[in-house]
C-alpha cells in the first residue's frame, strides 16, 4: 500500500509544481517571522518575493548545525512559543543541545511521513507494530508512534531495553512489524537464542531500522537471524526526526518524502550541486514545517541520489544508505557523539589539552561499545593504583553524563595514541558497517 499515492507517485512535473508552491509560501513566512533568517536572506541578497519556483532554492543560503547551536534555544523558530506543542532535544557538539520544536501541524506532518514510511516498508493497516526505539526526548520512539497512530496500526510502545520483556511481548502479541535500531534487533536475536526462542521462527516479518548507520552485510545478518525483511529508515531531529526517507521492499535506495522535505546533494566544499548519482552532502529544506522550518539544512551525511522511478511505483528521489559524514560525528546506539564533547570533559578534569582517542566497536553481541583512551600525564600519575582508578572512574562518569551512553575509559602511556601529521586521530571506528 502507498499511503499518499497522489504525491508519492506524482509525475515529476506535478511534484515540482507542488514543491514550487510550498517554497513560494515558505520563504516570505520565514522572512517575516524569524529575525535570524531575515538577516541570512538579506545577506544573501534574496528578496522573499523573488522566490517563485523550486529552482530558486539554489540561491538560498545554507543552514548549518552551527546556526542551530548559535541560535539556541529559540533563534530559528518561525513561530511564537505558545504555538509549540512538543519539544525534542538531541546532543550537540559543545554546550548547547540541538533543540527542535513542533507545532500541532508539524506533529501531524510527522505522523503523515512516518505513516508513509511504514507503508513503504510494507505495513498494512491493522498490523501490529512493536516500537522499540526509545521514547522521550529522542525523536525515534514518539515519531514512530505518531506514524503508527496515523496509519491505524496496533501499537506496542515497548520503548528500548528490557529485552526479555520485548521478546515475551513479541510472542504474546505477534506484531508483524518491529521498529528499533539495527544493532538492537541483532542483540535481541542473540538474547532470544539464550532464552530458548528460535528467532527464525519469530513473529516480526518487517523491520524498520534506523537511527544509526548500518550496512548491507548487517542487513543480511538481520534478515537471516529473524527471517524477516529489514528496511532502512532515515531522518534527523532537525528536519523532523525519523520519517525523512524510507526503503521499500525492493531495498534499492531510500525514498525521500520530497514533496515536504526537498533534498539536494551538494559538494560539501563548494556548496554546488553534484551530478545525479555522485556522492555529496545531503541538504534538506523543510517545505511545509511551521515551528522551525529550515532552509537548505546541511545534514553532514554523505549520500548519492537518483530520480529514477522505482519498481514500487514511487517517483520520489531515492538516496543511498549513508556513506559517511562531513564532520567527525559518530552515531552510537542512536546517540550523536562528537570528539569535542569528550575533549571538553577532559579539559574540565585535567585543565589541559588532553590526548585521547575514541574507539567504537561492535561487539560480538552486536551492541556498539565506546572506549576512550586517555594518555596519562606526569601531573596525574600516582604510584597508587586507587588514585589512577579514581581518575579513570571520574573521567568515565563525566563523559557518560555528557553523552548519555556507557563508555569504557582506559588510561594509556603518553605518545601511544597514533598521531598523523602531528595531529592525533581522534576516532577509530572499528565497526564493520
Amino acid at each position: 500500500m502507498i499511503w499518499k499515492e497522489n504525491v508519492e507517485c506524482a509525475a515529476p512535473a506535478d511534484l515540482r509544481e507542488l514543491q514550487s508552491g510550498y517554497l513560494k509560501k515558505l520563504i516570505p513566512y520565514i522572512y517575516q517571522n524569524c529575525a535570524v533568517y531575515r538577516q541570512k536572506l538579506d545577506a544573501a541578497g534574496v528578496k522573499p518575493d523573488s522566490v517563485k519556483s523550486i529552482d530558486d532554492i539554489k540561491r538560498l543560503p545554507i543552514t548549518t548545525k552551527e546556526d542551530m547551536r548559535d541560535n539556541y534555544p529559540y533563534g530559528l523558530f518561525s513561530t511564537p512559543q505558545d504555538r509549540i506543542t512538543e519539544i525534542h532535544v538531541s546532543s550537540g557538539t559543545t554546550g548547547n543541545p540541538t533543540l527542535v520544536g513542533y507545532t500541532k501541524d508539524d506533529v501531524k506532518l510527522w505522523g503523515d511521513v512516518m505513516a508513509r514510511a511504514f507503508c513503504c516498508a510494507g505495513a498494512e493497516p491493522g498490523d501490529t507494530i512493536q516500537i522499540a526505539y526509545g521514547y522521550g526526548l529522542f525523536t525515534g520512539g514518539l515519531g514512530a508512534h505518531y506514524g503508527a497512530l496515523e496509519m491505524g496500526l496496533r501499537i506496542l510502545p515497548t520503548s528500548s531495553g528490557q529485552t526479555a520483556r520485548q521478546l515475551k511481548l513479541m510472542q504474546d502479541f505477534k506484531p508483524r512489524i518491529i521498529a528499533c535500531t539495527p544493532s538492537y534487533v541483532l542483540y535481541m536475536a542473540e538474547q532470544a537464542k539464550e532464552m530458548g526462542i528460535d528467532p527464525t521462527k519469530g513473529n516480526w516479518k518487517i523491520g524498520v531500522f534506523g537511527a544509526e548507520p548500518w550496512s548491507e552485510s548487517m542487513r543480511r545478518e538481520i534478515e537471516a537471524a529473524w527471517n524477516m525483511l529489514a528496511t532502512d529508515i532515515y531522518g534527523l531531529s532537525e528536519i523532523i526526526g525519523p520519517g525523512v526517507a524510507q526503503e521499500c521492499h525492493h531495498k534499492d535506495g531510500l525514498h525521500v518524502f520530497s514533496d515536504v522535505f526537498y533534498p539536494e546533494i551538494v559538494d560539501p566544499k563548494t556548496g554546488r550541486e553534484v551530478r545525479e548519482g555522485e556522492d555529496g552532502e545531503l541538504v534538506i529544506t523543510t517545505l511545509t514545517k511551521q515551528g522551525i522550518p529550515l532552509i537548505r539544512y546541511g545534514t553532514r551525511d554523505i549520500v548519492s541520489m537518483t530520480h529514477e522511478k522505482c519498481r514500487c511505483g514511487r517517483t520520489s528521489p531515492r538516496i543511498s544508505k549513508i556513506k559517511g559524514r562531513t564532520d567527525d560525528m559518530i552515531v552510537v546506539r542512536g546517540i550523536n557523539v562528537f570528539p569535542s564533547q569528550i575533549e571538553h570533559v577532559l579539559v574540565g578534569i585535567e585543565g589541559t589539552q588532553p590526548h585521547y582517542q575514541i574507539i567504537v566497536d561492535r561487539q560480538a553481541h552486536h551492541l556498539d561499545e565506546v572506549e576512550v583512551l586517555v594518555e596519562v600525564e606526569q601531573r596525574f600519575f600516582s604510584d597508587e593504583i586507587k588514585r589512577l582508578n579514581e581518575l579513570g572512574k571520574k573521567i568515565k562518569k563525566e563523559i557518560e553524563n555528557v553523552l548519555s551512553i556507557g563508555v569504557k575509559v582506559t588510561l594509556v602511556e603518553p605518545k601511544t595514541i597514533a598521531r598523523s601529521e602531528g595531529k592525533a586521530k581522534r576516532i577509530v571506528d572499528k565497526r564493520t558497517l
Binding site: V376, Q378, F381, S382, D383, E384, I385, L388, T410
Partner: protein, 143 residues
C-alpha cells in the same frame, strides 16, 4: 629517613617491563627492590634504585610517565612473626600502610622491606620512637 621510590606507569603490553629494565640497566642504574601493581589494562611499576635522579631523567626522556614517591625501608626480623611484630606496633599507633614489598638483598640477618605509608612523616616518628632501624639512601647506594 625516607628513601626515594620511582613509580612508572606501564600499559599491559608485551615487553614494556623489559623496556624499562633494559633502559635502566643499559645506563648503569641498578634496581634494588621492585614490585608491580596491576589492573586490567595498566600496571604501576615501583622500584628503588641506586641512582634515582639519573633514573627518573632517563625514564622521562624516554616518554615514560614516572614520579618520585617517598617510602621508608625498614629492617624486619627474618623469623616467624617478625613482620607481624612490626605491623602490630604500627597498627597500635594508627599508622596506615598503602603497600609494601621486599628488597632482594639485606645488610644483616634481617629482612629489608619497603613501606609506603599514608602519612610518611607520622610513620617515621612512630618508627623512631620504637627504635626500629630505618634504612637510609646511603645504605642503599652501598648495597
Amino acid at each position: 629517613m625516607k628513601i626515594t621510590q620511582i613509580s612508572v606507569f606501564l600499559e599491559n603490553r608485551k615487553g614494556r617491563l623489559y623496556d624499562v629494565c633494559s633502559l635502566l640497566g643499559g645506563n648503569g642504574v641498578n634496581i634494588r627492590a621492585l614490585t608491580i601493581a596491576e589492573t586490567e589494562s595498566f600496571g604501576v611499576l615501583r622500584i628503588v634504585v641506586d641512582k634515582s635522579d639519573a633514573a627518573i631523567k632517563l625514564l622521562r626522556d624516554n616518554q615514560f610517565v614516572a614520579n618520585f614517591t617517598d617510602v621508608v625501608a625498614i629492617e624486619v626480623p627474618d623469623k616467624p612473626g617478625g613482620l607481624a611484630s612490626i605491623l602490630k606496633l604500627l597498627s597500635e599507633h594508627d599508622v596506615n600502610i598503602e603497600y609494601m614489598y621486599g628488597f632482594v638483598e639485606k645488610f644483616s640477618d634481617k629482612a629489608l622491606l619497603v613501606m609506603r605509608f599514608e602519612d610518611t612523616d607520622f610513620a617515621q616518628q612512630v618508627l623512631a620512637k620504637q627504635q626500629i632501624r630505618v634504612v637510609t639512601e646511603k645504605d642503599i647506594e652501598g648495597l
